[in-house]
Every structure is written in C-alpha cells, then in structure tokens.
C-alpha cells in the first residue's frame, strides 16, 4: 500500500471517482490549473481535462447553485469552497435548495453533489480561514455532513460521499492535511456515512471528537494512561446523521463523557452530543457529560489562537476533573 497524507488521500479519491464515473466533475476557485490552494486537486485537470476539473468565477453562491443544476441534470459535481469562511455566501443555496430539492419534488429531482470544505483553525491564517461551521450544516435537514480524521478515512468517506445519492458536506480538517501519514489502499473502498469509529478502547471515560481534535485527544489519552486511567475515544466521523449506537454502547460502559470540538460552544456540536448522551445513557451517567469547545468568540488571529484552540493538556485537565468527579 501507498503511504499518503490526507491531501493525497483526497486527491486519490477524486482521481478514482473521476476515472470511474464520467458524470463526476470537480470545480471551484483555483482547483483547475493551480490544483487548489492546498494542492488537493493537483494534477487532476491535466489528467481528466478542463471540462471535468476546472476553475469557476469567484462566486460561492453560484458554485453551489450550479452544482445543484448539474446534479438534477444527471451529473455528480464535487465542488470546493476554498475555505470554511467562504462557504457562508453559499448558505442560501445549500440551505434553501441543495438540502431540499429531493423533498420538494418528492424524489423527482435529487442532488448527488459533494461540497468539500477545508475547515478549522491552527494554520496561522487570516480571519475567515479558520472557521468550524459544522453545526450550521448539522442543523440543516437534508444534508449529510462528514469529517475524516485520517487519510484512510478521508479517501473512503469521500468516495462514499460522491456515491451517495444525496448531498454531502465533506469537511476537511486542514490543520492535519499533511500531519498524518498512513497506508491507504490504492483501490476503491467505501466508509459508510453515519458510522463512528472507536479509535481507542477504554473503560472509565468516553471522549467523543472528530477531525483535528482526534489527534489532540489521543495525546491526552496517553497522558491519562500514565495516571492509570483508561479512556475510550470515539471518532464521530459523521456529524449528521450521528451514530447513536456507538455512543450509547460506550457511555453505558464508561459512565463518563467528554465532548471535544473546535467550534464555538453555544449551539455547537457538543451540545447535540450531550443531548444524545442524555437520551441514550442517562441512567449510566456517573458525572455530568462535559464539553470542551472553542469559546463563544470569533476565533482569534494567529497570535491569539493558542487560547482558543484546544490542547492535549486542556483535554487532560477535563479528563482528570471528570474521573475525579
């Protein structure tokens, strides 16, 4: 198997699907000639041609809206929002149309489109380049929302997303684009959307996280292990739908749960997960389910980011509090 980082794994997934399915096209700002500002689409235009991998004018609402048009006319567009913060101009198209066309037309027109969004902080970027908008999408009926945390998952989930008959928001934790290298099969494989992954088996506490937070949680778990504590780690992978089964099973076993997300706190993913824990495992709870999240502030510019972004130490601190509770 080839060793790949996440950028390569995503590129490989796109290449695989472009090769296999002529209805797949890839477009957005700078994804063609340039190969994307993160080089995720590098080489694809050269290989698959400019009718299938191309630059669009600079307008996110149209990028999303034209993808809907292509999709209902039989294509499978995979579009890129250059950065998380630039998905906002496309909200109306995503919320009002892409998520609803199947329901509106009682299944006559469907939107098998994928919207790729590099997201999250920690890359020393300007404002609007470090956003974590997953809760906006998670709150929007009709979408599926997935986030990989490894190259392997990235390829499998993206292929699943492209093959999915419904629109999928595919969020890429850009901070770990090149941080993790892993063996990734060269052939095609799918990771089912909606299934979480138990990254680490443990007995005393469950951490639920996703994206770049998985790596931080793993570090915290190593620290906890030194204290003799056994922590389970769930990589949610799918922001909607959420895998209640995996969560239930884990929390019923551990009785303690910590949710870790980068996004700001209020009305964020952690709140949804805490509610699910209450619904699924209330009687097993030995401590209040806790959340460690971004603040209810704008994510600071690079020099202030250290306060906002969650470190393994902070995760460990919460583990410690919860286990001693």
């Amino acid at each position: 198997m080839k060793v790949m980082n996440m950028v390569q794994a995503i590129n490989d997934a796109l290449d695989t699907m472009l090769t296999e399915d002529k209805s797949v096209v890839v477009y957005g700002e700078d994804v063609g000639v340039e190969g994307g500002v993160f080089r995720v689409t590098e080489g694809l235009q050269l290989k698959h041609g400019a009718a299938r991998v191309f630059d669009s004018p600079l307008a996110e609402s149209a990028i999303a809206g034209t993808a809907l048009g292509m999709a209902i006319a039989g294509m499978k567009p995979v579009i890129e929002m250059q950065f998380d913060g630039f998905s906002y101009p496309a909200f109306n198209q995503i919320l009002s149309h892409i998520s609803r066309f199947r329901n509106r037309t009682r299944g006559k027109f469907t939107v098998p489109a994928v919207i790729r969004i590099p997201y999250g902080g920690g890359i020393n970027a300007l404002e609007h380049h470090s956003e974590s908008p997953e809760a906006y999408f998670g709150h929007t009926p009709g979408l599926k929302v997935v986030i990989p945390s490894t190259p392997y998952d990235a390829k499998g989930l993206l292929i699943a997303a492209i093959e999915d008959p419904d629109p999928v928001i595919f969020m890429e934790p850009k901070r770990i684009y090149r941080a993790i290298k892993q063996e990734v099969p060269e052939e095609k494989y799918n990771i089912p959307i909606g299934k979480a992954r138990v990254v680490n088996v443990g007995e005393q506490l469950t951490i639920i996280a996703y994206g770049a937070m998985i790596r931080e949680a793993q570090k915290a778990i190593v620290m906890a292990k030194q204290k003799g504590w056994s922590v389970e780690l769930i990589d949610l992978r799918s922001i909607w739908p959420i895998d209640r089964d995996t969560i239930r099973e884990s929390v019923r076993k551990t009785g303690r749960v910590l949710i870790v997300t980068e996004a700001s706190q209020s009305y964020g993913a952690a709140a949804e997960l805490i509610s699910i824990v209450n619904e699924e495992a209330f009687l097993s709870l030995e401590a209040p389910p806790a959340r460690l999240t971004g603040f209810d502030t704008v994510i600071p510019l690079p020099l202030g980011e250290k306060y906002y972004i969650i470190s393994p130490e902070r995760i460990f601190f919460e583990i410690d509090k919860l286990i001693r509770y």
Partner: protein
C-alpha cells in the same frame, strides 16, 4: 423596427422596445407577416384564454378559503404562452413562480398547481412535465440552477435549451448577477427571461434599479439582450424563437426583458391599491395581451371570438374538475414528512418518526 434577423444586432442601450402589434392588435409594420401560422395564432389565443380563466378560478378558490395563497398571472400571459410555443420537450423550464401558461405547456396539470398552492408537496411532482423544475421561492436563486443545467447539457452533448424565469425584483439579487456571469463564461444554452411587471410586491421598478431597462444588465456580461413588449405575443414569440436558436446553436445565453404589467395583486394576500394608482392601471389595461391578440384575430377574421364565453365555460368546467381532483387528493400521510428527505431514511429520522407514532398510539392512554 426589428425582426428575427436584426435581433442579432439589437442593443438594449438604445432603449427601444421590440414590438410587433399595437395596443389594438394592429401590426406596426404593414408589411409584417407573423411567423406563426393561423392555427398557431388561434391556439395561442385559446391558451391565453385558458391561462386567464384558470387564474381567475384560482383566485376565487382562494377567496373561498379552499387554497392558502395564489400569485395571479393576469396580464403577463403573452410571455407564458409564447414560451410554451417555443420550448421543446427536451428543453428545461426553470420557473420563478408566475408563469402559469408556460408550465401548462410543459405538461404540468392544473391539479398539481392547485395541490401545490393548497400546501402539498405532491403538487411539485409534475408527473407529466419533463424537465420542469418546481417553483422557486427564494427570489432569483433558481437562475444559478439553470446555469448548472446548461453546463450539463453542454457536457452531456445534449441539444436542449434551458428557459429560466425571474422577475424585475429578482434582478437585484446577487444570484442574478452570478448566474449571468457564469452563464456567459461557461457559454451555456440558457435563455433568461425577466418578467418586468413593474413591481416587486409593492416596490416599483424605479426603487429597484436606476437603469433605463433591464435588458441593459446583460451588457455587463457580454450576453445578447433584448427588451421586448411582454404583452405582445407575436413579439414575445419572435424574440424567444431567436433566443432559443441562439442558445441552441452553441452561441451561449440570451437575456430577455419582457416588459409587462401585473394586473392583479402580488398574491391573494396583497392589496395593490396601497401602492399604485387607478390611472396607471387604466393605462396598462390598454395593453392587455388578450385584448391585443383578440384585436389581431378579429381584424384578420381568423376565428370567431364571439364564442369566447362558451370557451371560457368549457375551460371552467375543466378547471373545476382539476380543482376537485386536487381536493380529493389523498390525505397527507405522516410518512411523506420523512420519506423524501433522503433516498434511504437515516435511522435518526426513523427514530423521530417512531417517537411521533408512539405519541399517536399512546396519547389517549396518557390522558
């Protein structure tokens, strides 16, 4: 004066309106011969009459409380009927929400339309209408869909044109701009039709834009654009046929401003006396598209319009049947809330549906 050939050279900068018949239906140019056969002209008249009748009926059903809301097409029918004459089966229709006659031509049934405005998504199935999109409520947002479809037509090497509608108010939205720009850059076969009916609800065109006409807006994108009399079914047909040809032959998009007037209210919940004058309404009444087409037909003695009442009566019966069918539509089942959200129902939705069903089964017991 323009004609099909000279439309190619038309510039909206001159602010001239393409028009073929006058307010009474008389040709402006004595030598002009319609591109439509007599049979087509008579059919256009009947279709226009049908649309108008259906519209009146819809408004009256709504007044009787049998439908929630309805946006009348009154006065704008020539645009719709002409579109219906030009659009082909494989062409796409991307509607705004006020182009009834065009929908009917595409195969939408009045039953479906009534069902939709009674508040049932089944009314957007458009079972017999090929390539007909549902009503787009968020103004102008549908235009970018049209462009995407256009890209697909090019990509799939299909010979098909996309007709996309928007109102004068809709030209102010960002999506209007993005759609036209993408359409030009991607060279897609899309005909954009702006129905300039002078108002966006209560807001008059002069509050909407400072430009003299809306066809002008195409200049910004290097899109051929025409200002046409939207109450002149001949002119509308001519321009639409030109535009379809243009798009179909790979020359890219066209923008049409069809100048018209919304004779009725914005929707049945609106009261236009709040924002416009009787004088204005009277002036536009002279340009009524039905009146003008009838004038032409009568002058040319193509058809005995004294039978109109009988025709209307026949249409009314037909429409009533359609309305009854809509009223007899099966009750909205709980299932329908959930089952069309995704191809396969995610377990989360099943869970929520089960909880509701559990409530339905046990609520009696709980009391």
């Amino acid at each position: 004066m323009f004609n099909h050939e000279t439309l190619d050279k038309y510039s909206p900068l001159e602010n001239k309106i393409f028009q073929l018949i006058d307010d009474d239906g008389m040709p402006l140019d004595k030598k002009w011969k319609p591109a439509l056969s007599d049979k087509q002209i008579i059919q256009a008249y009947k279709d226009l009459l049908f649309e108008r009748t259906a519209d009146y009926m819809a408004v009256s059903y709504q007044r009787q409380g049998r439908m929630f809301t309805y946006p009348p097409n009154l006065g704008q029918e020539a645009i719709h009927i002409a579109t219906g004459m030009v659009i082909k089966e494989d062409d796409w229709l991307v509607p705004d929400f006020r182009e009834l006659g065009a929908w009917l031509a595409k195969g939408v049934s009045m039953r479906e339309i009534f069902l939709y405005f009674k508040g049932n998504e089944d009314g957007s199935r458009f079972v017999n209408a090929k390539r007909m999109l549902p009503v787009s409520v968020p103004i102008a947002s549908q235009l970018v869909h049209a462009v995407g479809i256009g890209y697909a037509m090019n990509y799939q090497k299909e010979k098909a044109v996309v007709f996309a509608f928007v109102g004068d108010g809709g030209t102010s939205e960002g999506d209007f701009h993005e759609a036209l720009n993408f359409a030009a850059v991607w060279n897609v076969p899309v005909v954009f039709i702006v129905q300039n009916n002078q108002f966006a609800i209560s807001v008059p065109i002069k509050t909407q834009t400072k430009s003299q006409n809306l066809a002008l807006k195409g200049v910004a994108y290097a899109i051929p654009s025409v200002l046409v009399d939207g109450n002149d079914v001949f002119a509308m047909h001519e321009v639409l046929a030109f535009a379809r040809d243009h798009a179909d032959s790979g020359k890219g998009p066209v923008l049409i401003e069809a100048r018209t007037y919304r004779i009725g209210a914005h929707t049945t919940s609106d009261d236009p006396t709040k924002y416009r004058t009787k004088e204005e309404e009277a002036a536009w009444a002279l340009k009524d598209p039905l009146k003008r087409l009838k004038g032409y037909i009568e002058a040319k003695k193509l058809f005995d319009t004294s039978g109109e009442e009988a025709l209307v009566a026949e249409y009314k019966k037909k429409i009533d049947k359609e309305f009854e069918a809509a009223e007899k539509h099966p009750e909205y089942p709980l299932d329908d809330v959930f089952k069309y959200m995704y191809q396969e129902m995610p377990s989360e939705l099943r869970r929520q549906k089960n909880a509701y069903e559990n409530y339905l089964q046990n609520k009696g017991g709980a009391k």
